[in-house]
């Protein structure tokens, strides 16, 4: 039999009402928390026992609707799924409860998710095909074909990855991990016929997959193991596999690795920048920093470029294992 334990926790609760407040404030609430509780229990108790005006979203209480997503000490959580004991073990007995995005807060934990839904819509997250209105048989999908979705369809659109993504936080044009996972889900569906349309969208500079900083926050925070960064990588791959890569800094940066490894085994860092940017833009953009690096011995001259041993072996493998061309 499990023993129920109790601890006193100090909660710093984000409070803000867009209709009446100019700035948010934090209310400190001390509460006895039992080892059986999840975050949603605390939100309920704040509203029911402390302040009836406290606002948050909740619905299914089973981790499938995504409504109750908030942040605790900066960690995105589904309130109905996240155990208080785990958070206390992680952060101690002082916990800050905040909405997923402070700048989009409407009232306390409730945010305006309009940007999330617009971006979701942007990637055409639905099956596109010429549908026979009078089919003579079922449209069968094999288990192997279904497996290609790689759990992308498990997304509950809670927004945890979207509002944890540092690319999105710093560039509002960026489409973001949740919408990219949705784009992948339909591109991976054998019945869908709009792969190239979606790749046009996710391939575009500034908004597309090339602006991913590869921090793995989206994989870490996802409560349903959708693993959005895996889908972002797959979309990168689809861009090349479908021959729709635009010849620009981003694509050349990826391709440059293959060239460099083939030539040296190791990456020729300076040459990668030149290959990606072009000589003149490289000098204009990075000349000053490059000179500073050169002065302190951080630049290897081409004639001193180190090489991997057994380079012939590397070249042979690149020749036989390459799967795409650019």
């Amino acid at each position: 039999m499990t023993t129920i334990t109790t601890q006193t926790i100090t909660f710093n609760v984000f409070r803000f009402n867009a209709e009446t407040d100019y700035l948010p404030h934090y209310k400190t609430i001390e509460m006895e928390v039992t080892s059986e509780e999840v975050v949603l229990d605390i939100l309920n108790r704040i509203k029911w026992d402390v302040d009836g005006s406290f606002s948050y979203r909740r619905s299914c209480r089973h981790g499938i609707c995504g409504a109750c997503a908030i942040k605790v000490n900066g960690k995105g959580v589904l309130a109905c799924k996240e155990r208080m004991n785990d958070l206390i073990e992680l952060f101690g007995t002082e916990l800050t409860l905040e909405p997923l995005s402070i700048k989009r807060a409407v009232k306390d934990m409730i945010i305006d998710k309009e940007d999330f839904w617009k971006k979701h819509e942007q990637v055409k997250p639905y099956l596109i095909d010429e549908i026979d209105e009078h089919p003579e048989s079922e449209n069968l999908v094999t288990p192997k074909e279904e497996a290609q979705l790689l759990e992308a369809d498990y997304c509950i659109q809670c927004g945890l990855c979207h509002y944890s993504c540092p690319s999105l936080e710093n560039n509002e044009s960026y489409i973001g991990p949740a919408a990219f996972a949705a784009a992948y889900r339909f591109n991976a569906d054998v019945r869908d016929k709009a792969t190239l349309d979606r790749l046009d969208i996710v391939n575009a500079p500034d908004q597309g997959v090339w602006d991913c900083v590869k921090c793995f926050e989206c994989q870490e925070v996802c409560p349903k193991e959708v693993n959005p960064i895996e889908k972002i990588t797959k979309l990168h791959n689809q861009v090349f596999e479908n021959g729709v890569a635009i010849n620009n800094v981003a694509t050349r940066h990826a391709v440059g690795f293959a060239h460099s490894i083939k030539k040296h085994g190791l990456l020729d860092e300076a040459e990668l920048v030149r290959y990606s940017e072009g000589t003149v833009p490289m000098l204009m953009k990075h000349g000053k920093v490059g000179f500073k690096m050169f002065k302190v011995g951080k630049v290897v001259m081409p004639w001193n470029m180190p090489k991997s041993d057994k380079l012939d072996e590397v070249k042979a493998l690149i020749k036989s294992s390459s799967t795409v061309k650019f």
Binding site: N73, G74, K75, L90, F91, P166, S167, N170, N171, Y174, W210, D211, C212, V213, K214, C215, F216, E217, Q219, E220, H236, N237, F240, V249, A250, H253, A254, V255, G256, F257, A258, S260, I261, G265, L266, L267, D268, E269, A270, E277, K288, V289, M293, V296, G297, K298, V299, V300, S308, K310, E313, V314, A316, L317, I318, S321, S322, T323, V324, F326
Partner: protein
Amino acid sequence: MEKKLTYALFTGCTAKESTPEQLMSTYAVAEKLGIELVELSEATCCGASHLQDYDDFLSLVLNARNICYAESRGMTMVTICNTCQLNTAMTKHRLDNDPELKARVNEKLAEVGLEYKGTSEITHFLYAIIDDFGLETLKEKVVTPLSQFNIAPFYGCHNIRPSELQNETHGKAENPYNPNSLDDLIVTLGGVNVDYEEKNKCCGFHAELQAPKTAALLTGKALMGAMDANADWMVTPCPLCHLKLDTQYEHAGHAVGRDVKMPVLHMQQMVGLALGCTPSELGLKHHVSKVNFV
């Protein structure tokens, strides 16, 4: 008698090019601690997650080949770059958990007489020091405690996320939302670890060319966070984070509207300072943001 620690060193590319001081300080620290490092001279670039965007299968083959050479030496592979660590560990995870993929990769490796078996572990030098050498033993070796310094740890994404993979690799991953390895290391060396929001955030390195504005903002916020926490300097186990924070302070400063220049040391340099290595052994002159306190 203590068992001598021996690793197959995967240097990665950056330590051989734009952060020579990282390789120097790695060897200096290893010597002080009696750790033997056998360099994997055959190893190639890990692809840094960008080759993976272009040609995933090719990146798997090349990373598997790197691991093969650690296996052939019968050693654990040690990395000194968070991104090398992640890409190599991800390759190992995928091959060890997908027999069909492993067979496809081995079919290619067989063409050059190699076979990936999955017998070598992969760890970062930070965790080799903490988990294998041990912080208590390290503490006994400190000759110059860093007690006069407030030090800001900067973890770098690829050592802490995805935690499932890190857990598999290190056995006991630190929590990505509240990591502690660097903090513990700083305290062990006698320094004062400062806490700040950005310590487990992204430096923006991987988007430097493609999304320079985003990258500069991330770098600027990280440097600013450390400064506002009253840090004398920052320390990181990742040479890519180091490069971004050490050399890009001007762009980053413009992005956040502040002068954010400050010394950024490699984890190995910090350990070396406490162990009594000389500045030249640690390559302290190879910094753009001058290391002006020694």
